[in-house]
Amino acid sequence: MDVRAQISMVFHLDKCIGCHTCSIACKNIWTDRKGAEYQWWNNVETKPGTGYPTKWEDQDIYKGGWEKKNGSIDLKGAGKKKGLLNIFHNPNLPVIDDYYEPFTYKYLDLIESPAMDDQPTARPVSLITGKPIDIKMGPNWDDDLSGTPDYARKDPNLHDLSPAEQEAMFQLERMAFFYLPRICNHCLNPACVASCPSGAIYKRGEDGIVLINQKVCRAWRMCVTACPYKKSYYNWHTGKSEKCILCYPRLEAGYAPACMHSCVGRIRYLGVILYDAGQIENAASDETESLVDRQLNMLLDPFDPGVIEAAKENGVADSTIKAAQDSPTYRFVKEWGMALPLHAEFRTLPMLFYVPPLLPVMASLSKQDTSQGEKMDPIAKFWNDTWLYDTSTEDLWGTIDQARFPLKYMANLFAAGDEEKVKLVLKKLMAVRIHRRGITVGDIAPEKVETALREAGMDAETADAIYKLTSLAKFDDRFVIPPAHREQAIEMLEFTGDTKGSIGFGFKENAERGL
């Protein structure tokens, strides 16, 4: 057992309100620079939708991630052979138009325009060429299902849904969507690291953060192709690739990453998970159906004396083991089995897990009842009808089974296509609701609550714990950051109070484009 520590994340999608505060927090700190304007290390997508860059999930186009080849795995669009052969021109590299051409407006024209008959306008100009452009796209162009025919209907995850199922999703009365915030997953089997010919990308042993050494990157740009999540970006100005750094300077100082700290919906959790690094290769090479299970099996119980001993033997700090025991992500992912990795089939073993959303699934299918006005239940204060979110408890899992959002779609996102896995998580989410409603509203018979909990495989105590961590968790419960022990590592002692606009820490030279 080769025990290592990984800072992992859980995003609870039921809570995301799609406000993009996280994206802005990140942009303000890290990517508000020339060449990085188009980079959104944190972005929030509407699902169904094509996302950013457009259709990033379709690896027939982008050739990202790993693919299985005679028993083992290799990079799909990069790697030793393909990477070096395509070094002069990488056929699998997205270009900036796949993301969007960054732009600003000529605001000064509003002020400096002389008196005229017409109102002055602020024309959009490209941030690359400085010339006026027609804006064609932005990083969240399809927000809230806008432009559905062009975007939502082309979502790559719809590929194995029948035309009828797809049609049903887009009927006006039944349309539903949810938000999918994404950052780099700081994978256990990162494709970006494997694809870098210069060896500029590495995973930090102590906390598993994946970083690009800006001094070693030579713009061979293979990581952009290789990362199936398209979370490694090429800075066209400096000629270096950049990616989410999980705000490591903040983490080392004990602060939560900016996106997590600022998250309005408080959907984000961060904590240490111990895992067995010896299993990485086998887990990543297994059959697609077993990928999720294999990955979850790698995550170790931080209370198990055997694990603790092996961790210590491996040099994991006691403070990190303690953080792993208090980790909110370990509880969500492993203890409660409620969070799943995004697109496990890319085989990078992502360490950002998602609690799939229940709300877009739960909405009744029966006909609309127009006379609901009089039906407000005086105690429960809910509409006693069948067209709002169906919180009725007549038939325990009815709504899940006939979800208006096909489970297959969710399964394609979060469970490598396995509907049962998503269903189980949704049942758990539902069971917690039923349990809490039994307590707070009191209109559900205790036997019914018990049945729900039993079928979801949990007890009342667990349900309460889930409820607490989901709804009431304070800052320190959501972010359990292990001390970085900066005092012990010379490299970590570099000055981090850097100024906005610079590229990294500990640089003696200015971060300017090469000659």
Binding site: L84, H89, T129, R218, H237, A511
Partner: protein, 246 residues
Amino acid sequence: MQNFFNALNNFLLIALPYMALLVFVVGSIWRYTSTKFKFSSLSSQFLEGSQLFWGSVPFHIGILFLFFGHLTAFLIPRGVLAWNSHPARLIVLEVTAFIFAIAVLIGLVNLVYRRLTHPRISVVTSKMDYAILLLLLLQVVSGLWVAYNFRWGSSWFSSVLTPYLWSIYALQPDVSAVSALPWIVKFHIVGAYLTVLLIPFSRLVHFLVVPLDYLWRPYQQVVWYWDRKKLRKSWTPWSLQRPRNN
């Protein structure tokens, strides 16, 4: 007049190569050690991907062949002469080299055209990029000219230029044979020195860091900031390795 040409010959064929080499070595080391952030191939494929293919690929493949061709003639002139002793083989070699040079020319023209016409690419083009493109263009045109007009280059390179280059290398420069060559050949030689001279100051540095070690490196890389295992051994003297965590 004669004196002037002698001096010019001496400068271009003796002083310049030493200067170029010195600047190249010192400059590259300086560039690599102190301005690592600027050490990049500065790829512009991200801004424009399709035109680049017709420039970059023929250029690189052609230039690699020509580079190793010149290198072979420099390192094993006898081998080249032996190969050329048979006329058919000589023709094959010359024609192949010519084709690769044409590929370089096509590539360069496409690259220059792309830099000049594509607004996004102009933004990421420096003066040095134009200087290098122009220099390389002159090199390949003069090279093609020489190859076509003064046959057979691969043979007389090995017998005339190789001794000259070795004399430079041996610090006993001997330009008697070279000075008698046509001016266009000397132009090509001088162009080569200038290119070497400019390497550290341009994006050409990227060829110094061709990532061949990728071939034998393991795919995944994990970097540890310190070796905690060592710290934990009770027999490690505290004065040397103090167990500093917890």
